[in-house]
């Protein structure tokens, strides 16, 4: 079997599993709302990994753009118009534009300093959301909005009351964004990102505008994170400052690393494992935080390439 065929089979399996989730999840003790959460957080983790895995740049503050996306969607539904697509657009724009602006200040840093500065700017945005309570609801969060039925002209789809319909809506959004991401990574720009990751100095020698490439990559990944955040607001019908906090960023990075950050699909696997394990453990023991922390430590020490990286090394294809 050729590598291409194996890849095709794997891809088909992934999509089939995702599409059939509402049918098999309850059989193994899952529930549909958990599926939607996995997809949304996977999208956020993939947006972090877009930068980390392919440009080699670690942002530890991506939750800020994710959280802004949630607020953007909430504001649109609450103050603009009761339209789900509009809310997704507004959320994406809010997260993305904030990322584009702050990115200008950040892109010259590298390594651990880049991570620190992204955390710090993420916290700036967190504090704004936290303090500006007349607009954002502060610590109480933004309530009073709900995702709206989709009006396709010929039919209305109730994604508010019907969990399964909403899951498929999230899956569709997920597929769209993943397709865009994949497209970018295959483009010349995507190859330039990888060239920078592999050897920044050489890329510079070859005449690549490294700073500008990183800025564009950062901005794009913030747009993706904003989109994921907007979806998250629709999942909860709620947005709050916690979504912007650095601990949320840490979760995203962990999902990416745990799944395998050099792999396009790694963050999806990481998010699925993370969300399911956390959901399960926190029902079983009040000390679930210790186990999640231990999971972090074990992954870092023993599976630095993530689950997919581990599987690949074990089974040379």
């Amino acid at each position: 079997m050729s590598a291409g065929a194996a890849k095709l089979i794997a891809l088909t399996a992934v999509w089939a599993l995702l599409a059939a989730a509402p049918f098999w999840a309850p059989l193994v003790g899952g529930y549909t709302a958990l599926g939607a959460r996995v997809l949304v957080l996977a999208l956020a983790a993939m947006s972090v990994n877009f930068l980390l895995g392919f440009a080699g740049v670690l942002s530890f503050g991506h939750a800020a753009y994710f959280g802004l996306g949630a607020y953007g969607a909430g504001f649109a539904l609450k103050f603009l118009a009761p339209s789900t697509p509009l809310s997704l657009l507004c959320g994406t724009l809010l997260g993305g534009i904030a990322g584009a602006l702050l990115g200008l200040l950040i892109v010259r840093r590298r390594g651990v300093y880049f991570a620190m500065v992204t955390i710090a700017f993420g916290q700036v945005l967190y504090y704004i959301a936290f303090q500006w309570s007349s607009l954002t609801g502060g610590d109480d969060g933004l309530r009073g909005f709900a995702r709206q039925p989709l009006d396709l002209g010929f039919a209305k789809i109730d994604i508010l009351g019907d969990e399964t319909a909403f899951y498929y809506f999230v899956l569709l959004c997920f597929a769209l964004v993943v397709a865009v991401m994949g497209f970018i990574l295959r483009s010349p720009f995507g190859r330039a990102m990888i060239a920078i990751r592999e050897n920044e100095r050489r890329a510079r020698f070859l005449g690549l505008a490294v700073e500008r490439h990183i800025w564009i990559a950062f901005t794009l990944s913030c747009f993706f994170a904003g989109f994921a955040g907007a979806l998250y607001a629709l999942v909860n019908n709620f947005a709050d400052p916690r979504g912007l906090h650095y601990s949320q960023s840490g979760d995203f990075v962990m999902m990416a690393v745990m799944g395998g950050m050099r792999n396009f699909w790694g963050p999806l696997l990481g998010a699925a494992v993370f969300v399911v394990v956390q959901d399960y453990l926190s029902s079983v023991t009040v000390n679930w935080m210790s186990f999640i922390g231990l999971l972090f430590v074990l992954v870092v020490l023993f599976f630095p390439r993530g689950l997919l990286g581990f599987i690949r090394r074990r089974a040379p294809a």
């Binding site: 003790g29 899952g30 529930y31 549909t32 609801g137 998250y232 909860n236 926190s282």
Partner: protein
């Protein structure tokens, strides 16, 4: 560990599958049902067992578990055993909503209880309303839960902020004077509490000397206190809660501010007083429930029962909230002989808690118009050291019935909409 009980899922599953958890062998299979003949009736409880409100939430769960084990010994709910499924909301709305969905969709609980955090409580009320499940808010105080966001299926045990303010403001006014300065937490609970207190103060003829909105999680209050002192009020009212209150009162007493102006507040909890050094336990406050009520029937028994499952420690108001939430659901269901949430929600209007549950001298009932429990306020003074018991840190001076301090229903902004 405080959470070990007989009925909860947390512990039983821990024993059964603790090992399997990390191996990822069993993802999450439906709860294993003990052989007791009848299928149990499931009650779901969402509370922030980790994070800043962990102590309060864990106490609510302990109280709820006590109620479950007592009720199961007496025949359960409609002759069926009660099973309490506890989930950690981690003080996060997203997690809380997810857990509420897990309980309602997967575990198919018949009723829901929670949360300590008002924002989480309101978000999960949206879920319970959507699923048409009777929901008791055990410990979130924001007015809107039984005010403008009230719902037909949602009842609340703990006080509203307006009830809290109304119960104590005249006492504060008489005792301390008419110029008040507020140290207020900057979120909905604080805003509404201060607004209610200011309205009362105005009626009494006093004035607000100033107010500081402090962000949740403030560690250093000195800058706020410098301003408060400069305004020269008669009394500084500490409205911040939990660890913020501990920080604030600790710093006030170290600064010796309490020797220069009066210091008091509105809502106080035993959890917070126990976290402070003796010198910081000062001022007049209101408790929502207190464990020392000589002559009130059932209280001593309740205290003794809680001590048995709480490492010998006395119940706090939070224990009583959790206990009462479960007792309410089971009581009304047994009275109505049904598990139908709509019928039970209807019947809970004007439902009166029996003496062995209410554990307070006054009549205690849910108000039909806004679904708020008319529960007493315990006004008194914090004590540096307990006289007979190390945990007797509050001296109750008077107990005010809930319907005396609750605003009339038409002022709450609640308009209940029942399903057709």
């Amino acid at each position: 560990m405080a959470l070990l009980g007989e009925t909860g899922r947390l512990d039983r599953r821990t024993m059964l599958k603790g090992a399997a958890a990390l191996g990822g062998v069993a993802l999450a299979s439906p709860a294993i049902i003990s052989a007791r003949g009848e299928t149990p009736v499931k009650i779901g409880m969402v509370d922030p067992l980790t994070g800043a409100y962990a102590a309060n939430a864990q106490n609510e769960v302990t109280g709820a578990k006590l109620a479950v084990s007592q009720l199961n010994a007496k025949g359960g709910i409609l002759g069926r055993p009660i099973e309490l499924l506890v989930e950690d909301s981690a003080n996060d709305v997203g997690t809380g909503v997810q857990k509420a969905r897990k309980l309602t969709e997967r575990d198919e609980v018949s009723f829901l209880i929670g949360d300590v955090n008002s924002a989480v409580a309101q978000a999960i009320a949206q879920v319970s309303n959507e699923k048409k499940i009777l929901h008791i808010v055990s410990g979130g105080h924001t007015d809107t839960i039984t005010g403008k966001d009230c719902k037909w299926n949602v009842y609340r045990v703990c006080n509203t902020t307006t009830m809290e303010a109304n119960s104590i403001c005249s006492t504060l006014f008489e005792k301390y004077g008419k110029k008040w300065y507020f140290i207020t937490p900057d979120y909905a609970y604080g805003h509404t509490l201060q607004a209610a207190a200011e309205a009362d103060l105005k009626k009494l003829g006093g004035t607000t000397s100033g107010a500081e909105l402090t962000p949740l999680g403030t560690t250093d209050f000195s800058a706020f206190l410098i301003k408060a002192r400069a305004a020269n009020p008669d009394v500084i009212l500490v409205l911040v809660q939990g660890s913020d209150m501990v920080n604030c009162l600790k710093q006030i007493t170290q600064f010796g501010l309490n020797t220069q102006v009066h210091v008091a507040g509105l809502q106080q909890e035993l959890e917070a007083l126990e976290g402070m050094p003796p010198e910081a336990r000062i001022g007049v406050w209101m408790f929502e429930w207190y464990w020392k009520q000589p002559g009130v029937s059932g209280v001593d028994q309740f205290v003794a029962d809680i001590r048995k499952v709480n490492n010998g420690k006395v119940p706090t108001a939070r224990h009583w909230f959790g206990y009462t939430s479960v007792q309410t659901i089971v009581g009304v269901a047994n009275q109505q002989k049904t598990l139908d949430s709509l019928k039970l929600a209807k019947a809970l209007g004007n439902f009166e808690l029996p003496p062995e549950v209410r554990l307070q001298p006054n009549k205690c009932y849910y108000r039909e118009g806004d679904h708020q429990l008319m529960t007493s306020a315990f006004i008194g003074e914090a004590q540096a050291e307990g006289k007979d018991d190390p945990e007797d840190l509050f001296r109750v001076d008077k107990v005010i019935a809930g319907d005396k301090d609750a605003p009339p229903v038409d002022e709450t902004g609640c308009k209940l909409q029942w399903p057709a």
